[in-house]
Amino acid sequence: MKVFAIAKNTFKEAVRNRILYLLLIFAILMIGSSRILALLTISAHERVIKDIGLFGINFFGVLIAILVGIGLVYHEIDKKTIYTIISKPIHRYQFILGKYFGLLITVYVNLIIMTLFFFIMVFVLGIGFHISLLYAIIYTALELAIVTALAIVFSSFSNPTMAAIYTLIMFIIGRMNEDILRFAQYLAREADRMIQAGQQVPPFNKFLQGFTNVICRVLPNLGLYNIRAEVIHTPDKVMISWEPLFYAFTYSTFLLLIAIFIFQRRNFK
């Protein structure tokens, strides 16, 4: 109940943020502009409209999660409103959870608005609607749950500028997770080649192999939620798998636990 009350207040506070509207307007303009951009292409009109629509929803969803999320906890401390909250019988974990769910609701409301606009465009332009488009947006929603949790973690111990930088870096790493794995596999192949050639594998190679293998498992894998290519090329084969769903839940929970851990140790005296 207390979590809900904080979430509700966070949502109210977030919707007053002008950045939110600015981003939403940009997102809608971008999705709308896909019709004009489609005029510039040679065939592939439908594809351009769908691609730009899905990109706009994802990109601006991420921007909203980061730019609105980074200041949520910091502003409470900066404006000293945190004292009125923690002096009440509210656990700090409830505060973090409330902030997270409040931000997530804000992000999802925006996601729904962008999606509705996109679907209206799809219908008006007579592009065949396929359920896979909805799947792509569900996957975006799952990705945003992780990005929102990241923003909350960094917001719990740093100022908005630093939190924005950290979250952005984690987002970029999350999107490049597959490349880290590719690098680890390349190192493994190189090591195999050396062994077959009777050479000794340098210790640094072994260390780097282990390190990259661990890193790509520890850091968020946001590439998991990119099914946009499949939605465009093989929509009938797109299905929602339980793994990304469960991963979003477990990884967000893990991040929230870290945020709670940090926040509980903060001294507000």
């Binding site: 951009l37 292409t41 592939a44 691609d51 899905l54 994802n58 946001l222 590439g223 290519a229």
Partner: protein, 385 residues
Amino acid sequence: MMRKVLFIILVIIFFSTSFLLQNRILKGVKLDIPYIDSLYLPKGDIVKPLVLDYDMFAADFFWLRTIQAFGGHWTGDRVYANFDRMFDVIISLDPYFEEAYLFGTLVLGDEARDKERTYKLFNRGIANYLDNRLEKMKDALINEDPMTALKTVQKLIDEKYLPEMQVLDLPYKIPYYAGYMAYFNFSETESALTYYQIAIRCKDVPDWVFRHIPWLQERMGEYIIALDKWRRDYNQAVEDKDELIMSVADEKIKLTTNNYYLKLFRDDIKSFKEKYGRFPNKLEELAEKKYLPFIPPEPYGMGYLYFPKTGVVIDKKNAERDMIVYLNYIKNKINAYKKQNNKYPDALNQILGKNEVIDEPYQNEWVYDNKTGKIYSTTAPYIVF
């Protein structure tokens, strides 16, 4: 109040100054028309990780920019130097961007006339759609140079490495356009045949693509294989009661048979001349001297025309068609001369332009009557214009 007025005045002053300044700057600017634009990009493999999984959007972005760049060059210098890199980036970002392959090869093949870069793009397109069960073929298409890759693929097809069935998850248009480009733009029948053989194994291939194979085989001199395939098509059409395909296959059988017989005649007449130092007096002499077991009947039922002086043999149907075209052209020129000079030309060379020669297509002669303006050929003297 004064402050507000002052503020508005300042806004107006600064805006109008910058507007006038911009107007002055733009007057001095002379943009080249058309606007020639190119993208200088790193390799696709480098661009891919940099777009942070927004690969579809990035592919679209580069696609639109490439179309724009093409438009500029097409209406300008028509030089397409780094377009292969642009398409490399697009298909690295989205390996299944079918339109990019088709348009890319149109730019590189039709416009730039660059065979190697065209085949390379087609080969990459085909390879991207192949699954790992066809690793050998995939490997050849990606790693070997385009021409060698095609030979390797043809070898794999001959070795039945590729399934005979339509099982490839590859849009048929990619290998089909490749075949089209190879035959019509680069006059490479063998490469075209290899591409068409891939096309007929695609899941979405329409029936008519199959007919390109015997058509090409005939052009490669493989008449018997081509005939066999046309016969199979005909039989299938009879079974399906498809009258259109029946008539197409029937026509193709006649055409292929005719071309095959004409080739036999030409080869045997050549051998005859080498042995006897003269051309046969009549076609039947080829059978008499055992060059042929018998003189085959002309498939259209119109017979052959043979000219012992030149050793040329043609079928009447094609000869008549050609004669009509040629005679029409010459007659128009004769009429134009008559209208201008009020008399028929004394000889045919009077109606021809500088460096223009109208040879009789079958090494025979035009017979022209300058009194009546009538003309015919000794190939088909019964067609008089």
